[in-house]
């Protein structure tokens, strides 16, 4: 064997040793802690209940709602299209497969923010991207969208738009019977003036 091949072999062995020194690649891809902390600071990971509601009504195909409440609460009422996942099964193969669907915005929510905040951190650590939290959870959603609130007389046009959107959303989720914030106007019987048509002359022929 030529000497140069021996040297080349030694060179490769040294480089291979270098690979041994490098840290092992973990089976499950994880985000670096510093990158995770940077993601924590980002406020864009929170979505308002109004925005989520708008996307539900629009039947947004990129929206995936992940409901972290108990199965009983989920059975009683759930947002359309929501999937119920218990926090302890957050990192099962099935859940990860669901959350790693490309092109989907995954929105976590529980009754409030505490559980979804923790779930967000753990799922983001496991490299789940496009993951959001519905700010305030289902309680905030119920208080904002379903519960009627009196309209402030000094409300701006944008506020009024928001109120009318919420009224429409309430109709969407609850039905027309539960809606209308504005007091009903008393029905005034309209006077109808009857104008009698004069009897027409018979069309009987004749020249």
């Amino acid at each position: 064997m030529e000497r140069k091949y021996t040297i080349l072999a030694v060179l490769l062995i040294i480089l291979a040793l270098g690979l041994v020194i490098l840290p092992k690649k973990k089976e499950q891809k994880e985000i670096d802690p510093k990158a995770l902390l940077s993601a924590v600071v980002e406020k864009s990971r929170y979505l308002s209940v109004d925005l989520v509601t708008h996307r539900i009504i629009e039947n947004d195909p990129t929206l995936l709602l992940i409901d972290l409440r108990t199965a009983d609460q989920f059975k009683l009422f759930a947002l359309p299209g929501a999937v119920n996942i218990q926090p302890d099964s957050l990192l099962t193969a099935t859940t990860l497969e669901l959350m790693n669907q490309p092109g989907k915005d995954k929105v976590l929510f529980a009754n409030s923010d505490l559980i979804s905040e923790k779930a967000w951190l753990i799922a983001t650590r496991s490299s789940v991207n496009r993951l959001y939290i519905m700010k305030g959870g289902m309680n905030e959603w119920f208080n904002t969208i379903i519960k009627e609130k009196p309209i402030n007389s000094a409300a701006s046009s944008s506020d009024l738009d928001l109120v009318s959107f919420r009224n429409a959303a309430r109709q969407f989720f609850v039905g027309a019977s539960e809606t209308t914030n504005t007091p009903e106007k008393p029905k005034v019987k309209e006077k109808v003036q009857v104008i009698r048509k004069a009897p027409e002359a018979s069309s009987g022929g004749g020249c």
Binding site: R3, Q73, L76, F77, N111, M138, N143, I146, G205
Partner: protein, 198 residues
């Protein structure tokens, strides 16, 4: 010069260079912070209430204010030190957390609201700082602590009776499908025109 070295000058210099690169990469490798708890283990922390500390229990613990420096300067808790959330994993901060861990001192994080400290404390727990907890409360503008009940807000306030309205209507529709009655078609005879005419 040795004839072997002379004939393999290039290969030998490449070998030397490779050795130097590997050694330098090893010596100056960036200090990476590793998770000490696996992701699957950390799932258990979601429902763990023990990482929260009540305001009445913070005496003797190292209190860390994770708000911005500006907010900290406006008012903060007594004996609290400021490590803004973005700097929690800086080398200095990690050194400080390591020291506190060695000393066996408990650390309590707080922010503008209770939620602000939840994720950072959980992250530090996953990095092995089991002494790091989160305050069940927030700091007010006057620098006093205020109890906030984030955990209790996880109780559902949804009035399911109101929400059932639509589902019941839906079910009723499903049970009794409305069948369209076949409309009877009555042929209309064309009337003879009464119109006269010449």
């Amino acid at each position: 010069m040795n004839p072997f070295i002379k004939s393999n000058k290039i290969w030998l210099s490449l070998l030397g260079l490779a050795i130097i690169i590997v050694l330098l990469a090893f010596i100056f490798r960036p200090e990476v912070i590793h998770y000490q708890i696996s992701a699957n283990e950390s799932v258990k922390l979601v429902n763990d209430q023990s990482i929260q500390v009540d305001i009445k229990d913070i005496a003797g613990k190292q209190v860390i204010d994770i708000r911005s420096t500006e907010l900290f300067s406006q008012g903060h808790a007594e004996n609290a030190i400021n490590i803004p959330i973005r700097k929690l994993l800086d080398d200095e901060s990690i050194e400080f957390f390591n020291q506190l861990l060695e000393d066996g001192k408990e650390v309590v994080l707080y922010g503008s609201d209770e939620l602000e400290a939840v994720a950072p404390s959980l992250l530090l727990q996953q990095l092995g700082y089991k002494n790091v907890k989160q305050l069940s409360g927030k700091i007010t503008e006057t620098g006093d602590f205020k109890v906030s009940e984030l955990a209790s807000t996880e109780v559902s306030v949804i009035d399911t009776a109101a929400m059932r309205v639509k589902t019941e209507i839906k079910k009723a529709d499903e049970i009794t499908p409305v069948k369209k009655k076949r409309e009877a078609v009555i042929p209309v005879r064309q009337e003879v025109t009464s119109g006269g005419g010449c």
